[in-house]
């Protein structure tokens, strides 16, 4: 049996067939480049976990018009809740829109199941001409004359060469580290998400969440839901199942010696959540790391012959009101592909040429968004905003609404007393108000 020559040449090798990698492959292949898309799983999506709400509909619509008509989507999001929890109480901000862009094309967000969605997306890249190879784990980059010229797949004769390598290999990005673009992470920079998919009859989902047709909800929870671990929880509706999970900062899980899957059980048992998940049958349990620190954990985004995109580049916006990753993964994947296309046109793959990646990231609002919210993650994902204040709000509402014969209290003295009873110092409170304002208002 003859074997193909070892040194096969591609224009672009993209490592990881998630949302970043597959759209990068799609765009590069459409531009006529010879593209190899490598995926370590048995199929694209086999290793991928998100909540998962995909907020990048408008972005994908530019690539594949009316993509939702052919893609495996679950429900479009027409209702979002942010709930503040104490162990027995919940106070929620309920947003519902039948407005343009929410309940009409291109829709604002869709729930998806990643193994199905990612598989479909990679197939689109394949249809555009990219060569998708699954069951191929990449261990290292190949260098020549100080520039990256390919990757090593963990198989016999695994060296494979390309003009540009785009690392979309996820939060742990071994490739960015091997290329010297990323440092080792600290445990306070990452959060662990554990998740369950609970099967439930579509009719029950519609009744329970007041939905019709393919409408869906995205609920997010802050406060005492993760006990004293810094983090939050979520609950989303799929077509015939619910996706729910708990997110906890790794360092905080270690300090408090809490097991994430036990917090998940506590979440499902909360009096405000239990009626929503009742009757659900566990279909799959999963876990994944989330690069929650955004701006501060970004690697160097390019070097000679290589670009980094998606979670591998820390493009995940986890800042209280926002919990978005797949859309930024796609935006950065597209920016990386645009960079690779220009580099191939110029025939120059030096770090200096690839520096236009920065420009494309700005044009696609990736770096601008992350810069704008650079102060949010460390603070928003901190203990006071994620857990303490939400719990105080929930407890406060409990006091305000309580009718037990005792004299009614006005809100300000009540709030004053609650702050006094808590461990928060007045100075801290003022500082936090300023921080919130700086993070979200200007």
């Amino acid at each position: 049996m003859t074997t193909a020559p070892a040194k096969e040449q591609f224009d672009v090798i993209i490592v990881g067939a998630g949302p970043a990698g597959s759209v990068a492959a799609l765009l590069s292949a459409r531009a006529g480049l010879k593209v190899l898309l490598l995926e370590r799983g048995e199929y694209p999506g086999a290793k991928n976990v998100s909540g998962a709400v995909f907020y990048g509909s408008a972005i994908l619509n530019q690539l594949i018009p009316n993509w939702w008509e052919q893609a495996p989507v679950e429900r479009y999001i027409c209702r979002r809740d942010i709930a503040f929890m104490s162990p027995t109480t919940a106070v929620a901000l309920d947003f519902r829109s039948a407005g343009a862009g929410y309940a009409t094309a291109p829709y604002n967000g869709f729930t998806v199941l990643r193994p199905k969605f990612d598989r479909w997306l990679a197939a689109q890249a394949e249809a555009a001409g990219a060569f998708l190879l699954t069951s191929a784990v990449v261990d290292d980059v190949l260098r020549e004359n100080g520039r990256i010229v390919g990757v090593r797949v963990r198989r016999e004769q695994g060296e494979i060469y390309a003009k540009v390598v785009i690392a979309c290999d996820g939060v742990n990005s071994f490739l960015a580290k091997k290329a010297g673009l990323q440092r080792e992470f600290h445990s306070h920079e990452l959060s662990l998400g554990v998740k369950e998919v609970l099967g439930l009859d579509p009719a029950i989902i519609q009744d329970r969440f007041h939905l019709s047709g393919n409408e869906g909800i995205a609920f997010e929870y802050l406060g005492a839901i993760t006990e004293d671990v810094h983090g939050g929880a979520f609950l989303y509706t799929n077509h015939d199942s619910l996706s729910l999970g708990v997110i906890g900062q790794v360092s905080s899980l270690v300090e408090r010696r809490k097991r994430s899957y036990e917090l998940l059980e506590g979440f499902k048992a909360h009096p405000a959540v239990a009626p929503l998940v009742r009757g659900g049958k566990l279909r799959e349990y999963s876990a994944h790391l989330i690069p929650e620190s955004g701006w501060s954990m970004q690697p160097k985004l390019y070097t000679g012959g290589m670009l980094v995109a998606g979670d591998a580049a820390g493009f995940c916006l986890a800042a209280g009101l926002y919990l978005e990753g797949m859309n930024y993964a796609m935006q950065s994947g597209l920016a990386a592909a645009e960079t690779a296309i220009v580099a191939c046109q110029r025939g120059n793959f030096s770090a200096r040429t690839l520096a236009i990646y920065r420009k494309y990231l700005k044009q696609r609002h990736v770096s601008t968004d992350f810069r704008a919210y650079r102060h949010a993650p460390s603070f928003v994902n901190g203990p006071r905003l994620q857990n303490l204040y939400p719990e105080m709000v929930a407890r406060g509402m409990e006091q305000i609404f309580r009718v037990d014969g005792a004299p009614k209290q006005k809100i300000l003295p009540l709030a004053y007393r609650m702050v006094r009873q808590s461990s928060i110092k007045p100075g801290q409170l003022l500082h936090d108000v300023y921080q919130v304002a700086r993070a979200y208002l200007w």
Partner: protein, 290 residues
């Protein structure tokens, strides 16, 4: 030497989930894989192949089975054949083996056919024997080890209760292999890339020279299904007068004394087959001829 390996695309048992209310299997959640016993059979064939020999893989199944055959080519098989006809539905081993036998005859007849002894889905373990019937070749099942010497194969078999047997057959022959003997090798990167778009030749009934009537094989007729009759359970206690060693041995065997059997090592195959049928008849497993 030309070796043929029969591969089956099976659902991964860990992904077969039965809904407790409806009793239905959730097919949407099933993932497929190469039957593990067939995987060892393929690896052994690749190791055994002499420099001038070939390994050809066969599978009976719909287009999804191409993936399995491409994996076999990537691992180093020389050729692959998929057998299927859109008129075929869910197949019983009796029909699968008629198709396989026809495909083996259409290609250059191999010297050796390796099969996984049991599949993880149906698991009847009948394919090697039925294939032998259709090809009229010798077959050895439950094979754990074998060696080829001068046109003959020395075979080691696993029998019940840990017993081993050694036998020898002449080529061409069919072997049914145990699961987990060896792991299939990882394909090299160039091979993996090469097979990705390799078309797999498809043999339908016409190419195999078969008509739908040829697929009829009156092996068994199901008359009636009955629940098993409960048997009285006798709690075993060891003989107190026996030595410690014997008592431990009795406890370990849970009181199951080896049933008196008979080793048939003489007579023609026909005489031996008659003896087995007579044995089954005496014990009421077969109806008396009318």
């Amino acid at each position: 030497m030309h070796i043929a390996v029969c591969l089956k695309y099976v659902p991964d048992p860990s992904t077969i989930e039965v809904d407790p209310l409806t009793g239905m299997i959730d097919t949407g959640r099933m993932l497929y894989m190469m039957n593990p016993a067939d995987e060892s059979a393929l690896e052994l064939a690749l190791r055994l192949r002499p420099p001038t020999g070939t390994v050809t893989v066969f599978s009976v199944g719909p287009v999804e089975a191409d993936r399995l055959l491409q994996d076999a080519l990537a691992a180093g098989a020389d050729a692959a054949v998929r057998v299927w006809d859109d008129s075929l539905g869910s197949l019983k081993p009796t029909v699968t083996t008629i198709l396989l036998a026809a495909a083996l005859r259409v290609k250059e007849a191999p010297d050796l056919v390796l099969c996984g002894g049991h599949s993880v889905d149906r698991g009847s373990g009948t394919v090697p024997a039925l294939l032998a019937e259709h090809l009229d070749w010798p077959v050895v099942t439950d094979v754990t080890q074998f060696e080829i010497q001068a046109g003959r194969i020395q075979v080691q078999r696993r029998l019940a209760r840990g017993a081993r047997a050694e036998s020898e057959v002449a080529l061409p022959a069919i072997l049914g292999l145990e699961t987990g003997l060896v792991h299939l090798r990882q394909a090299s990167l160039p091979n993996l890339m090469r097979v990705k778009h390799t078309p797999i030749p498809l043999y339908g009934l016409e190419e195999l020279g078969l008509s739908p009537q040829d697929l009829y094989f009156p092996a068994m007729t199901l008359h009636e299904v009955m629940p098993p009759r409960p048997r009285a359970r006798i709690m075993f206690s060891p003989d107190p007068s026996a030595s410690v060693q014997d008592r431990v041995a009795q406890i370990m065997s849970a009181g199951v004394a080896g049933k008196a059997g008979k080793i048939m090592d003489s007579g023609t195959p026909e005489q031996q087959a008659d003896a087995i049928i007579e044995f089954l008849r005496q014990r009421g497993f077969l109806e008396q001829p009318t």
